[in-house]
Symmetry: C2
Subunit: 180 residues, 2 copies
DNA sequence: CCCACCTATATCTGAATTGATATAGTTTCG
DNA sequence: CGAAACTATATCAATTCAGATATAGGTGGG
């Protein structure tokens, strides 16, 4: 339920078209929230019905029409309400890290490769974020948090790599928390 | 598309019931992947149709029946394949951090409160993870990565807090990357 | 001129996900 | 004994999301 709020947040900085929003989402908001255009246009329509944004249709003599959205006072109130509200627990969805949980299924050599491959993906994401354009104050701070989070993960992975080449430790066959 | 693979991973450690899997998911896999039971039972049925798990129905004299799932050789192959496969870029969905991006909408005092509130949520999650039960090797490592990631975020938040009480910096009114 | 790429809006399908609800036996504690 | 909590499986409706596709004009280079 927060894509509309993220869009409101972006619109609170500038009036924008759906395309602008999709672009901003893909380039700098991506580490905390991402969405396809197939979500964005319907979300804007809903924001409009709710009275949180106004639409102005720009129809220049040459060129296609552009739909410019502008936040309203009610929209700003709603944004404030959302930012203040306690955040729900993070919805963990990290497929790359999830895979690391089951490295036992692989041979020593494959493990090394899998870890290094995941690390390369993280490194690339760090590079991408560091190359970003200037941003408003707190958006920039959030990008920094995202970068540091990725770098923390890379450090953890280096430790993991060091121990992943080790032959499997002697472990009990079962890990039931409870017995029936 | 990775809930079935996470379930396969858990089943590669122990044969389990759907309930066991839901419990494991909620307690220790949660930071990287979470799911409701309403996803788990259908996912197990699909894994079964695909031949990756076998079902044994336990019907003790007393008590309701229990469905025990066991991974097959084909299931182990599929798990290995998935763990090796390059991971897609992380799907960032972090509603708490997303809110921090729009702190500009709040007053100085509200900002402080919002940041501290978010930090308390992270701290609680760290506590919960640290209190976890013993886990198989790599699952334990992944939990450690998750904890360090949270602690990295808390450090970043402390820096953010220090600067959030500052009056808004003079910033250009618009941040368009491109002009038309 | 044509091709490739970018700007721009919009929709459709199918899959994944959430949250709620139903059912039913078991255990535990007071 | 009764209430509460736990074990266990299952389904429903509603929403979110991903990926593909359609349409159309504009821009820049070869």
């Amino acid at each position: 339920m927060s894509l509309p709020h993220v869009l409101l947040g972006l619109l609170s900085e500038n009036p924008s078209t759906g395309y602008d929003l999709a672009h901003a989402l893909a380039t700098d908001v991506a580490p905390v929230w991402r969405a396809e255009t197939s979500q964005i246009y319907p979300a804007l329509a809903r924001l409009r019905r709710a009275g949180f944004v106004l639409l102005r249709v720009l129809a220049p003599q040459r060129g296609p029409r552009r739909n410019l959205y502008r936040i309203t006072a009610a929209g700003r109130r709603e944004l404030r309400r959302w930012v203040c509200e306690p955040a729900p627990p993070p919805r963990g969805k990290d497929e790359g890290l999830a895979r690391m949980a089951f490295l036992d299924a692989l041979s020593l050599e494959e493990r090394r490769r899998a870890i290094l491959q995941y690390d390369r993906g993280l490194a690339e994401e760090v590079r991408r974020l560091k190359a970003g354009t200037p941003l408003p104050r707190f958006r920039r701070e959030v990008r920094r948090v995202a970068i540091e989070r990725l770098e923390s993960m890379r450090r953890s992975l280096r430790i993991l790599l060091a121990s992943a080449g080790t032959p499997p430790a002697a472990l009990p066959a079962r890990f039931d928390d409870k017995k029936k």
